[in-house]
């Protein structure tokens, strides 16, 4: 018989307890392994998410050459040359080479198509494999001189397959026309696909650099040389290598940085620019990665220490229970070393066996987390830190076992046989003192800087201190109760108090349960608060359930497209711009106020409040625009005209165009209806004013006195509200030197007199002079609390604003911005300028959950290209995978594991002392104490043992959360820390309470069942 046989038989004999030791040791290893494995997986997840969420065009490697043949020869060379160069360079950098896909070459140049008098601006483009990404009617161009034209362009301009088109390169002086044959009409299969990059091929309808030409969608050629027909043409050549975002591994990042620099150097020699936002995206990702690297170990350490402590307790209990066996070994003359091996062999063997189990469990747990929580494609990585952590855990567990067993092993034989309950020793007091000192230090650190590593250890340390205090309090309380119960003769109270007062294991169990519950309570509170913060952040960031970032020719085009795509009113057009004021950015958001309450999600504002805001932004008394349908007519009674002939004009705003004045004719005395056709107004336009201008070159003083009696469109009279003072206003500044007066009434009287070179303008005020606006933060004016101020509007010219509300936040605009009605803002801006050419405006479509699911496709069909779609669910999902959420998720996991450990400790404590307790209870039964009283005594004991730490643990956990959460990143590490707020609901905290109560109740039931077998038979010597 060998020592192994004895060990194995001992383990089998104590199968239940051995299993618990195995599981605890495995749990300690798992906790240790979690730190490096989860850190790695979480960092990989953040990397994968960061790269996937970035636009493909941003992560792609794009080699660009742009210019004429003289300025950029590479742009005029065959793409094959550049491709070979890049291929060679990438081949020298295998890591980067393995992460990029096949390069797509594109060559394009701006051209005009058609006659010189009515040219269309188009981009002539060649792109690899273009026909595979288009739905064609006709042929795919394969020879030079062949073109594909977009179907909608063809329909708009009557182009057919087989037509010949004259094409001239833009900005080429003396350039000649090249004739191309239209061989097919195309519709992009998915114009938002990554294949198309950011070239903007499908911008038909947008303004053109040549103001006289209308922009149409790109025309594609099958021969790249077609784009280089003119050496003086500015040709843009690009080779786009998409990044395989899902394949970038953490270990590749440094290499990728280095390779990008090297490839850039290689390409610059050949006058190719390497353009990519990949380095900056990787840098952004690294912020989260560093946060995870900092947070996870701090979260894992308390769990590891708790496992270690629990293992220490369990081993100490088990070795103490084996005291008589160790005494036998010593009695038989075993030398000290051999007796120690006999005493600890079982535990150490279990600890060693637990190590691989713990490693596998840890890796499995991380893999499970990777599949359920982390970014798709993230897997656990088996690397050396995992095994180093496991080895460390093994050593620590072995050390814990040695320390735990040392006291028992050093006892003499008779002490081991006597099994006198161990007394508290000064070492335990010293350890408790150290913990209290550390907790005080961490608390002090937390009050100063909550982000300091020591501060982050404050919650678990405070939990330990609370556990120690609870344990001691329970002891004192039990002794008091014992005295009282003894005096009053209450058996159950006496039995429970006696047990609690004399059992050192009770004190240790209280510490463990308190710490575990406190960890779980802290984690659950933090999780709930963070989840609320993420929801708040998502609402603040998006402002609606879905947000589409789109391209549009101008605001009116967007408005028309949205209303056409979703007539239900579940979505609304939004136009945004940003201005700098006083060193800070001010966000301007224009949205359609009538749809505001239906679509927007606005934190701290309920639907009624939002409706109130909408009403304030666009009051019912507002003046409606005067919509024209191609003709405009004005009935005027001219009382007098002096100073020469005067011409009556209608100032018209055509969507996407600057205001134009349509001449209605020379004024003559009497009542006359003046009318004219309005160019480009077939799809509707707006009368924004009337003008009176001199018809000749006379410089005599102008004298006009007339009554406007009616305004008509082609369909009939318009509600011009000539009697409304708010509807019409003379603009004296347009006619400096003249006195201009507008008098509303049954007819609108206009008098103007004086010497002026300008026109007399009578503006139709279909937008308030001062735009009603909601202001978040400081008003962008000298007086931060000003109720009226002027600030650049959409037209980049000063726009008066009137503050109707002040809030702390605007949806999607943060805490410094202006929100106003889009229609008013557009009308106001289009009084003076066209918004079509604005590069400042950003177009979006906000939609609620009831909006059509295919709204993006509908918008595309309506001519609005969707660049990006953001949804509330995606945003919450994305935020849920940022560093703080991943850290808190682990914390929650650790808290759950801690409570499981605590339940294990309670159960094992009951099992380890079960024989003795059963013997005692059996003796009490023989002595005449009724079973019911014994049961009540045990129940009271267990309730006191677990109830107190449960309450204290939750209180300390929640208090720790209140203390620490303001310093813990809740949403993202690179954003402003949100307000910490907790909204009661069915979150993690109630679940934690339920789990803890149920788990500990289960432990109580098991303990009661264990002690139920305390029958008088137990008193026999051979009863086990």
């Amino acid at each position: 018989m060998t020592g192994w046989t004895v060990m194995v038989r001992g383990i089998r004999y104590r199968a239940g307890r051995s299993l618990v030791v195995l599981l605890l040791a495995a749990a300690a290893t798992t906790a240790a392994v979690l730190a490096p494995a989860y850190t790695r997986a979480a960092q990989q997840s953040v990397l994968t998410d960061g790269l996937r969420n970035a636009p493909p065009s941003a992560t792609a490697l794009v080699a660009v050459a742009e210019g004429t043949a003289d300025s950029a020869p590479a742009a005029h060379n065959a793409t094959g040359d550049a491709r070979a160069l890049i291929k060679g360079s990438l081949a020298r950098h295998p890591v980067l080479n393995g992460l990029v896909g096949t390069g797509v070459a594109g060559v394009d140049a701006d051209t005009t198509i058609g006659s010189r008098s009515e040219p269309l601006a188009a981009r002539l483009a060649y792109r690899d494999n273009v026909c595979a990404n288009l739905r064609l009617e006709g042929e795919c161009p394969i020879d030079s001189g062949q073109l594909l034209v977009s179907k909608r362009t063809a329909e708009a301009y009557g182009i057919k397959v087989g037509d010949g088109l004259d094409l001239r390169f833009a900005n080429v002086p003396g350039g000649r026309a090249h004739v191309f044959e239209v061989v097919g009409l195309y519709t992009p299969i998915d114009q938002n696909a990554a294949y198309w990059g950011l070239a903007g091929y499908f911008a038909g309808g947008a303004g053109s650099p040549e103001a006289s030409a209308t922009r149409i969608d790109a025309v594609f050629t099958g021969d790249e040389d077609d784009v280089r027909l003119e050496s003086a043409a500015t040709v843009s050549m690009r080779l786009e290598y998409p990044l395989r975002a899902g394949e970038v591994q953490l270990g590749d990042v440094d290499r990728v940085h280095a390779d990008l620099g090297a490839v850039d150097a290689d390409l610059s020699v050949q006058e190719l620019d390497l353009r990519t936002e990949l380095p900056s995206i990787l840098d952004e990702v690294s912020v989260d990665q560093r946060a995870i690297g900092r947070t996870v170990p701090i979260i894992a350490v308390p769990l590891v220490l708790l496992c270690w402590f629990v293992l220490f307790l369990i081993v100490a209990s088990l070795v103490e229970e084996r005291g008589p066996e160790i005494a036998l070994a010593k009695l038989r003359g075993f030398p000290a070393g051999r007796a120690a091996r006999f005493g600890l062999g079982e535990v150490l063997l279990l600890v060693v066996l637990a190590a691989p189990v713990g490693v596998v469990a840890g890796l499995g747990l991380v893999e499970l987390a990777a599949r359920s929580v982390l970014a798709e494609g993230t897997n656990v990585e088996v690397r050396w830190p995992v095994f180093a952590a496991a080895a460390g855990a093994l050593l620590a567990a072995g050390l814990a076992a040695l320390l735990a067993g040392r006291r028992t092993l050093r006892k003499p034989v008779l002490s081991l046989l006597r099994r006198v309950p161990a007394r508290g020793r000064w070492q335990a007091g010293l350890a408790e003192g150290v913990v209290v000192a550390l907790a005080a230090a961490s608390l002090f650190a937390a009050l100063g800087d909550r982000t300091a590593p020591l501060a982050l250890l404050a919650p678990p340390l405070l939990a330990v201190v609370a556990g120690i205090a609870a344990g001691r309090l329970l002891g004192i309380w039990s002794r008091v109760r014992l005295t009282v119960a003894r005096r009053r003769g209450r058996i159950p109270a006496l039995l429970s108090a006696a047990q609690l007062a004399r059992r050192p294991a009770a004190h240790r169990a209280v510490v463990v349960v308190t710490v575990a519950v406190a960890l779980l309570a802290f984690a659950a509170t933090a999780w709930d608060v963070a989840a609320q913060a993420r929801r708040d952040h998502a609402v603040d960031t998006l402002g609606a359930d879905r947000v589409y970032s789109v391209t549009a020719a101008h605001p009116d085009a967007l408005i028309d497209a949205v209303h056409g795509a979703d007539p239900s009113g579940s979505s609304m057009p939004v136009v945004r711009s940003a201005e700098q004021y006083n060193g800070a950015q001010v966000e301007l958001i224009g949205l359609q106020a009538p749809l505001l309450a239906n679509v927007v999600q606005w934190r701290d504002q309920n639907r009624d409040q939002v409706s109130g805001i909408a009403a304030a932004l666009r009051p019912d008394s507002a003046v409606d625009p005067l919509e024209l349908d191609g003709r405009v007519g004005v009935q005027v009674r001219v009382r007098a005209v002096g100073g020469g002939q005067a011409r009556l004009g209608a100032i018209v705003s055509v969507p996407g165009e600057p205001p134009t004045t349509v001449s209605l004719g020379l004024l003559s005395r009497g009542t006359v209806t003046y009318s004219a056709a309005v160019p480009d107004c077939a799809d509707g336009c707006r009368l924004i004013g009337l003008s009176v201008s001199r018809a000749g070159a006379s410089t005599a003083p102008l004298a006009v006195d007339l009554d406007v009696r009616e305004v008509r469109s082609g369909r009939g009279p318009l509600p011009a509200r000539l009697e409304d003072r708010r509807a019409w206003r003379a603009l004296p500044d347009r006619a400096p030197g003249a006195r201009v007066v507008a008098t509303p009434g049954t007819s609108l009287r206009l008098t103007a007199s004086g010497v002026t070179r300008g026109d007399v303008v009578l503006a139709h005020l279909d937008a308030p002079e001062a735009l009603p606006a909601v202001v978040a933060g400081r008003a962008p004016a000298e007086d931060e609390r000003a109720t009226e101020f002027s600030f650049p509007g959409f037209a980049q010219s000063p726009q008066p604003f009137e503050v109707v509300r002040r809030t702390t936040l605007l949806p999607r605009a943060g805490n410094h911005g202006l929100l106003f009605d889009l229609d008013y803002a557009v009308r106001a801006a289009e009084q003076t300028a066209s918004l079509a050419d604005s590069t400042q405006l950003r177009y979006e479509v906000w939609a609620n959950a009831n909006a059509p699911a295919d709204l993006d496709r509908r918008l595309a069909r309506a001519g609005v290209q969707v660049l990006r779609t953001q949804t509330m669910a995606d945003e919450l999902d994305r935020l849920g995978r940022r560093a703080p959420a991943l850290g808190l998720w682990l914390y929650l996991l650790a808290g759950g594991a801690a409570v499981l450990l605590a339940i294990g400790v309670v159960l094992l404590s009951a099992y380890v002392g079960a024989d003795g307790r059963r013997y005692e209870l059996a003796a009490l039964r023989v002595a005449g104490v009724r079973r019911r009283l014994l049961r009540r005594g045990v129940l009271r004991e267990q309730l006191a043992l677990l109830g107190m730490p449960l309450v204290v643990g939750f209180a300390v956990g929640v208090a720790g959360a209140i203390l620490m959460l303001p310093g813990i990143p809740l949403v993202a590490v690179d954003t402003v820390q949100p307000e910490v707020r907790y909204e009661p609901g069915l979150g993690a905290l109630p679940a934690a309470v339920a789990v803890s109560v149920v788990g500990l109740a289960f432990a109580v039931i098991v303990v009661l069942r264990t002690l139920r077998r305390a029958t008088p038979d137990r008193l026999r010597e051979d009863a086990r």
Binding site: M1, L328, A329, L331, R332, G333, F334, P335, L414, D1022
Partner: protein, 359 residues
Amino acid sequence: MTVAMPARFGEPAAAAAPDGLGVTCRGVVFIYPLEGYDVVALAGVDLDIVPGESVALLGPSGSGKSTLLSVLAGLLRPAAGQVRVGEHDLVRASDGELARMRATDVGVVLQGATRNLLPYLTTEQNVRFAQRGTPGAADRPSPREVLSLVGFAARGRLRLRPGALAPGERQRLALAVALANRPGLLLADEPTSQLDTHARDEVVAALDAVRRNGTTVVVVTHDPDVGVRMGRTITIRDGRVGAEGRRGEDYSVVGRDGSVHLPPEVLTVVPPGTLLRVQAQPDGSIVLTPPHLQPQSPAFPVAPDRALTARPGDAVTAGPGGPATAAPGTLDAPHTGDGVHSNAIILATTPVPNGGIER
């Protein structure tokens, strides 16, 4: 469960018989330090046990007999005195030497058979486990030899665990475990407690077999019958050797300091504190006389010429008016003084020189 006694029960083992170890105690004192006060468990024990002897330590609970056993096993170190087991000086030996002693020369049986056994090992494995204290010892017996010495012959019993054995078998297994390394001294604490008569007889027979095999046997027992069957009984009273028994005869022992424990029934006559006149008689007896009784008076039963001098270690019988039973009580001799008593006490007519034992 009872098992029939094997035919060869008590036959000498095939392995070489051990050399019995003698035990010598001189003035052994042991004190249990408790909270706030000390308890003197052994108050100057003098004891000589010759190699191969079989001795029962008798005495009431708390008298110190188990403490004495622990001292002999090297589990407790005396506060004063000398203790020798064979060549081992237990007072000067280090912990390691004491452990080696228990591994080779002294086998200990704890009170309660199960406390001596590992419940998860079989009968044979328990013996092997006890032999692991001296790995590689060439002359140790095989477990089966040891088990056969205490009556375990049936092969099937060797593979049973302690829980499956009858109480008597368990106790004999505990003896076997203590004998695993063929010790010269076997110390057994209450080996027959909680056993029925049959099982007790089996155990006593086993102990006898052990003694006949050459091992010195010291047994702590409450059972006078067991004591009688052990041959020599030593009664411990108040931490001292108070009396000895030989073949059913009890003798008080004169201590090294001249003290003699009086039997309890004597103490009812002369309670502690009584003054006695001590007179040696020509016939070798000692007369202890309260002051109110004159040696020449008709009530005085012994002629003065029968006086005897009792020396320390002598075994003597004592009783009112002649030899009688023993019980606790101490008489210092010579002693004179005032006192009131109706009887004189005569100490032994035939002293046994130097406490020797007739074998």
